[in-house]
Each structure stands twice: as C-alpha cells, then as structure tokens.
C-alpha cells in the first residue's frame, strides 16, 4: 500500500519521526518497504502490508498506529479513540437474509449536498498516492477508506426508489443466472453486466428485489451519484471474507475494497467510517446529515488470550521480565491484565489477527526487536536415519561422471503423456513425464552439435528424476534413472549400444546387483526407487568434496565454427608450447583448442589441433574466422612449423 508521510503526520502529530526513520522502523519491525520516494513536499512509502495485517494496516491510521507502537508514543489524533455516536434515521431500512454473510450494515443519509470539485488539500492527498480525483463525494469515500481502511459506497438518494418514505436495502445471496450491472473498472469505460453464480452476496433494492451491488467487491450502476446529485446515502458494511474473496477472484475484480474484506475487516469499523465521512461531507459538500441506520446482528466480542511470560521468553529465546513484556504489548494497544502467572491479553478491536498466544508472542518479539535474539547452534547429534535414495544417487552419479556422463535436470512437464494436469502452463506442458527417455533423447539431440565447442569426444547425459503415471486409480510416482550417449554427431548409431552396454555393466558391478534397464537407441532407463530399495542400508554418507570455485559465464547461443590445423614441429616441441602459440594468434573469438592427434614419422613430429571460434553476440562469418586462421598459420610458420 502506498502511504503518504504527511497523512501519517495527521495521526502522529509532533511525535512523528522523520520519513526515512518511519520507513526504517516499519522495515525492521513490521513490513517490508518496497519503495521510498520524495514527492514534492511529501514522501510516499510503498509498504508491503502482510496478509495477516491487511485488516488494520491497509490504512494510514493503521500504519500510523504501527509507527506509534514502534516509537512507544501514542497517536496525537486517533479516530478510534472514542466510539462515535450518530443520530438515527427512520428513512432507511436494511433486511439481512443471513447475518453470517453480512455481520453489519450501516447507512447514512445526507440532504442538500453539492457535488463539486474536491478542495485542493484532498486532491493533493489522493494525487500523491497516484489516485485520480473525481468529485468531492466520491473522493470523500476514497479518502475515508485510505484513512481508516473501511470501504464505502455512495448512492444518489433521488434515484433510489422510496416506498412509504423509506429507502429499503436488502442483503441476500444471489440466484444463479441473475445479473447485476457494475460500475466500470477504475471509474472508466462502460458499465458491466455480470451474470451471477448464485454464491455471491448482493446488496439489493428491497422494494423491487433488484441487485444493486456485489457485496464487498464492486458497487452497481444503480442510483449512481452524479454531478447534480443533491441527496445521497453512504453505505459502510462488513462482508464475509471468504465469500468476498471467491466472488472477487471468480470475476477477476480484485480491488482495494475486496482486498480489505478478504482479510477479515473488523465489524466495529463501519461506525468509525460513518463518523469520519459525516464530518468530511459537512466540510467539503455542505448539506445536512439526516442520520444513520446501523444493523449489527453479529455483534463482535473481544477475544482474550492467556499469555504465559515463560512461553514468550522460551519461544523467542530472550530473557525479558514480565513488566517489560507488558509494556511492549501495551504499546501495540493490547489491553493486558497481569494475573501473576499469566497475562490476559486483549487486542484492539481492529486487530483481527491476534487470536492465539503465539500471535502475542510475535508482537513482543517484533516490537522489542529480533536483533535481541542471540544465535544458538543446536548441539550436534548423530543422524537417526539415512536417505538411501540420496546415498545411491551419489554412488551412481560418481560412476556415470567417471564414465564421461554429464548430469541434467529436465522439465517434469510433457506435451503428451499419461497424466494430464487440470491447469496447464502452456499447451506443450499440459502433462507430466512418465519417462525420462524422451528428455534424454532431446538433450542428446540438442547437445550433439556442441562436442567441439565443449571439447568432448562424444555426448553423454544422465538424469535422476521423478516420473508420474497412473496406478490403481491414483497418480503414482517413482524416481527414475536414465542415461544415454551419442558417439556420432549425426544422431543414434548402432555402435552406441555397445558403449552403453559397457556403462550398464560397470554400474551393475559397482552396485553389486543386476539392473534390468529398458534400452532404446542407446538410452537406458530404470526404476531407481526399486533399485535403491533393494540395496543395503548404509551407515554414513560419502564425504562431499568442497565445491570448486566457479564463476559462471553466460554462454553464447550463437553457432560456433571449427577449424583444424596439423603441422610438423621440430623435436622437443610440446603440445602446450604449440597450443600457446596458436592461441595467441587466434584472438579473442577462439573459445577452445583441442589437441586431436600426434605422431612421429621419419624423425619428425606431427601435431593436430581443432580450434573452435564463437562470439557471444553474433554468428561469425567464414571470413572472420578465416582471417583469424590466417594469423594462426602465419604464427606457426614463423616458428618454422610446416603446416600440412
């Protein structure tokens, strides 16, 4: 939520710390700060309010209260300090079908107001937070929500039919197929007619049973306030978190209001919001406040939780005395009664998140500061259990790495396979793999062209990973081991099978068991879960070598080029000597030099090398590579080496 520092000062008064201090305090003790920015005379702080605090802190009053808690001050001006009392009106009735869906519904009636431009201070307040000013009445509802956290909706009273001099509101569950016309998104564009599923809660014009708003999610076009509105009704209600959430997600309308209701906004809030807007409308729109109606069938009762001070210290790993704990809790507005051994704690009504002892322990911890928690390393104990999947994976890995195989981890998704997901990421990832063979085959195909680039003699790949299939009417999975090789760049070659067979044999020897691999085109796969479960349990893991210091470099995705050079060198010239001469001449585009051949004939030694060229940003041309090779030949000749 975007927070204006100047707005916080309305609540904090002179005790407000400087804006950067506010951001630091919140960051260390309450919420992550996404951004901190000076905007003209104000600072805007983007506070990432946690889901459990969305009921009280998606508001300037809530954030200011949090700052006051952290500084140990009290709010200079707190709109929640005293419960407001508003005169009643008989001009509105509310009929709530099921109080669980709507624990509270309030409405206030105003007559003779003037809809006009908002005063500059209000425009500024909204503008600094990136909100568009519409008119004084709409802005007032927006202002109260951003200030206190309670969403409001306003109706033109003259467009709302009256029966026997009474405006009749209804609250009920929607009927399947029923429609409601909603205000356009962000106040722009066209109204939208929404067909309902029958799970939503609706606000209705009771006299005609017409749906006029989607409770907690979006107001309707019914009795929409306009430039000439004189008499208005302001609604502030409490809606069921789960129903609001389902409705909002289902329709893809997640707006400020629904986000607040979803997180269990306190039913005590509407009254404070009404009191606030009554005052604001009088200030900026004139007219007369005729009174409110407050239907509150599910009255909120405070929850008191017993907190054991020993538990506080035991869980946080600190040693606070009880008085300090009590003082910290009281800073958060928590009423604490010290019963000797236990503390009876009651959170302020807007904190719907404080429900169990651990919630209060967290309050002590974060307000006191987690920097007071000292590191303690648990005393080492022997392992009570070995992971044989890991143990034997390591053993197999060691054999395969030794045989020149490199390890891959490929996608668990497949285009077409036995298990299809209900919700796919993409059409080619709609299923789960039931075998590793296809992925190994794809990886071999992809990599065979890179043997020169990577300096390999051939391409060898393995994977140990989970595969999925159906078994006895349920999805089943096991760990699969697969490996494959390609000795030729052209793809599978029957000769590959022989090389693969040798590897299978060495694995069998190493594990001391016959391995029943499925083999296809020099790719072998086996149910590895069956393998390790049949092997003996080991007492300890093999020692893991410390990781090499590796600095990864992004690789070029552009085509590489190879050039071979063979030459007669004088006796005593080593491969290293020759390599360094060639490399120095080949320039920066050379990425690898592989010594491929050496023989001696008639007292002369022939050395052959393969040079690989590649650029990070483009595909090289023949000309570029030939130019480099010309210098390589020149350098060799300068050494007196005769190129062949």
């Amino acid at each position: 939520m975007l927070v204006s520092y100047n707005w916080l000062k309305d609540f904090l008064g002179d005790s407000a710390p400087d804006a950067p201090v506010v951001a630091d305090l919140l960051g260390a003790h309450a919420f992550e700060i996404e951004e901190f920015e000076q905007k003209g005379e104000d600072f805007v702080i983007d506070v990432d309010v946690l889901p459990n605090r969305s009921s009280d802190c998606l508001s300037h009053r809530g954030i200011a209260r949090e700052v006051a808690t952290l500084t140990g001050e009290v709010l200079a001006h707190d709109p929640f300090a005293k419960k407001p009392e508003l005169p009643q009106t008989d001009a509105v009735t509310v009929d709530i079908e099921n109080s669980e869906t709507c624990p509270r519904f309030t409405a206030s009636v105003f007559t003779g107001i003037e809809v006009k431009e908002s005063p500059q201070w209000l425009k500024d307040r909204l503008e600094v937070l990136g909100q568009r000013s519409i008119n004084n009445i709409v802005d007032a509802t927006n202002y109260v929500m951003l200030s206190l956290g309670q969403p409001l909706h306003v109706y033109d009273a003259d467009l709302f039919p009256k029966v026997d001099g009474v405006w009749q509101f209804g609250v009920r569950t929607a009927r399947e197929g029923e429609t409601v016309s909603l205000l356009p998104e962000g106040g722009k564009g066209d109204a939208r007619l929404i067909e309902l599923l029958g799970t939503e809660t609706l606000v209705t014009d009771k006299s005609t049973d017409t749906p006029i708003g989607l409770a907690g999610v979006k107001g309707g076009t019914f009795a929409e306030v306009h430039g000439g509105s004189k008499n208005v009704i302001v609604e502030a209600a409490t809606w069921h978190p789960t129903i609001t959430r389902k409705t909002a997600r289902g329709l893809g309308i997640v707006i400020d209001a629904s986000k607040r209701y979803e997180n269990d906004l306190s039913p005590e809030m509407p009254l404070y919001a009404q009191a606030s807007i009554v005052k604001l409308i009088a200030d900026i729109a004139g007219g007369t406040f005729e009174g409110s109606i407050d239907v509150y069938p599910e009255k909120w009762e405070p929850t008191t939780v017993s907190v054991n001070p020993e538990h506080v210290n035991a869980l946080l790993g600190i040693t606070l005395d009880t008085d300090t704990m009590v003082a910290l809790l009281q800073r958060a507005g928590i009423a604490v009664e010290n019963n000797g051994e236990l503390l009876s704690c009651t959170g302020p009504w807007e904190r719907t998140d404080l429900r169990i002892e651990a919630d209060f322990i967290e309050e002590v911890g974060r307000i006191y500061g987690y920097d007071h928690v000292k590191s303690v390393l648990p005393e080492a104990v022997p392992l009570t259990q070995m992971n044989m999947r890991h143990y034997y994976s390591e053993q197999v890995r060691s054999v395969l790495l030794g045989a020149g195989f490199s390890e891959v981890i490929t996608s668990s998704f497949a285009k077409k396979d036995k298990i299809k997901l209900r919700n796919a990421l993409a059409s080619d990832k709609g299923c789960l793999r039931s075998t590793l063979m296809k992925n190994i085959n794809d990886a071999l195909d992809k990599n065979v062209g890179f043997v020169d680039l990577l300096g390999n003699a051939d391409t060898r790949i393995f994977e140990i990973g989970t595969v999925f299939y159906k078994n006895d009417d349920d999805v089943a999975e096991h760990v699969s081991l697969a490996f494959g090789l390609r000795t030729k760049q052209g793809g599978y070659n029957p000769k590959d099978d022989k090389a693969l067979g040798d590897v299978v044999a060495s694995l069998e020897e190493n594990l001391g068991m016959k391995l029943d691999f499925t083999i296809d085109k020099a790719i072998a796969e086996i149910n590895f879960t069956n393998v390790f479960e049949a092997l003996p349990v080991s007492e300890s893991y093999q020692k893991v070598e410390a990781a090499k210091e590796i600095s990864y470099k992004p690789f070029s995705v552009h085509q590489h080029m190879t050039r071979d050079i063979a030459m007669w060198v004088e006796e005593g010239t080593t491969v290293e000597d020759a390599t360094s001469v060639l490399n120095a001449a080949a320039g920066d585009l050379r990425v690898r030099t592989t010594h491929v051949d050496a023989f001696t004939k008639d007292g002369r030694t022939s050395l052959a090398f393969r040079l690989v060229f590649q650029a990070i940003d483009r595909t090289l041309t023949d000309d570029e590579v030939n130019t480099q090779m010309d210098s390589v030949y020149a350098a060799a000749q300068a050494q007196g080496w005769e190129t062949r």
């Binding site: 003790h29 992971n387 490199s406 060898r460 009417d473 999805v475």
Partner: protein
C-alpha cells in the same frame, strides 16, 4: 575418459546435506504429487484463505486421483509427513523439486528446487533458528555470516520471519550487504497439533528457501531457466 559434469543443483544438495548432517539433520523426502490435505490443510492454510494466493497451484484432474492432489507448491508438506511418522526430537532437511503455476522469466521457473528445514524438540527457540541458519551459510559460503530477522507471515509459522544474511569481510560480490534469503518461523501450534505433537511440550522452527536462488547467489547464474534445459553449454561449466 574425460570426466562428466555434475549438475550444480545436485552438487549443492549434496553439500547442503553434508553441512546439515554434521549437526544431525536427516535428509527427508516426500511425493511431488501431493495431496491437497498435506500441501495446504495440514500446514494451517485454511480453505480459500488469501495466503493461498501466494501459491498458484497445478492441480491433478479428478479422474487421475483418489483424493484432490496438486504438484506440491513447497517442500513444507514433508514437515507434516515426517512429524506424523516420527516422535520428537525431529531434525530434518527436505531438498526437493516444487512447482508453481506462474509465468516464467529469468528469475522464475514453474519448477524449481526448495530447501525446507525443521527442528522440533523441547525448548527450541528463535535463537536456535538464527544459530542454525548462520551455521549453514557460513559453511556454504565459507566465511563469516550474520543473519537478521524481519517480521513476515506464513500460515504454518508464528512468529513468522523473513531472513536476511550478510557475508562478512569476504571479497565476494555478495559480501557486506544484506541479502534476503528465506522465510522461516516457529512452527504454528496448529501444525504441531495436527501432526500429533503437543505444542505445550514441544516447539520448533521451520525454514524454506529456494535452492535455485542459492545457485544464482553462489555462481552468478543469470537465468534460472538454464538449470532445466538439459544444455551442456550450461552444465559443463560446473
């Protein structure tokens, strides 16, 4: 024969296991196709609670399963599974593949690896969490490491924290700045109770972090998707 190259993720998992095994943390595992009950309910994520927004989930089709199942969105369900089948004290780590149904980019993959840690015993407190994480990172990055907690929220812990670490005095690119590395907290009493452990007797901490992110930190990998392409131009650098 030239030796092959091990994938950086399995290298790191081996290293992580050996660091935690030294202080008695068991390498535990669980299914990747997980029940809704273990993936959410047992971790105190109520039905339709906004906390489920944090995870966009791949679901199996009703025809393929005997009860609602998902591709696990975190390794945390193994916590509940292990606690159910073992009496405390419990010390486990759970490295494993997890899945989120979200758009992919250089820092996000729909499949990635997570490391879960869990320690349940009498008298386990947040200082143990701090000490364990400091121990792990100082070994993993071979240097002096400081960690700090910031408040956070996860339904399966209370208090919940975000953990930042700072590698001190080294010449590494990572050194001398706070880096957000994981979510953690003290195991929620409901989670303990749900697994048959009495929260009045036992307490514990849990943490979870991305191993892929650890690879980004350790090796400077610039695109996490490269971990899953089977491209040897990537793997052969390790």
């Amino acid at each position: 024969m030239q030796k092959g190259h091990q994938h950086p993720l399995t290298q790191m998992i081996s290293e992580i296991n050996s660091i935690f095994a030294e202080i008695g943390f068991v390498f535990a595992e669980g299914p990747e196709a997980e029940t809704e009950v273990y993936n959410f309910d047992r971790l105190n994520v109520p039905k339709d609670h906004p906390a489920r927004d944090m995870q966009d989930t791949f679901w199996f089709r009703d025809d393929d399963v005997s009860e609602p199942k998902v591709l696990r969105t975190h390794t945390s369900p193994v916590q509940a599974r292990f606690m159910e089948s073992h009496e405390p004290p419990v010390r486990v780590i759970v490295p494993g593949k997890v899945f989120r149904n979200e758009a992919t980019d250089a820092t996000h993959e729909a499949q990635f690896h997570q490391l879960e840690g869990l320690y349940i015993d009498k008298g386990v407190h947040m200082g143990h969490l701090k000490g364990t994480i400091e121990y792990f990172f100082s070994k993993f990055f071979s240097g002096e490491v400081e960690v700090r907690f910031r408040p956070s929220f996860f339904p399966f812990v209370e208090p919940g924290v975000e953990i930042d670490m700072m590698l001190k005095g080294s010449d590494s690119k990572l050194a001398n700045k706070w880096i957000e590395v994981m979510g953690a907290g003290m195991v929620h009493p409901e989670v303990l109770r749900g697994s048959g452990i009495d929260p009045d007797v036992y307490s514990g901490f849990a943490f979870g972090m991305g191993i892929d992110r650890l690879a980004v930190m350790k090796y400077g990998i610039n695109d996490v998707r490269d971990l899953y392409t089977g491209d040897l131009r990537f793997v052969n650098q390790f």
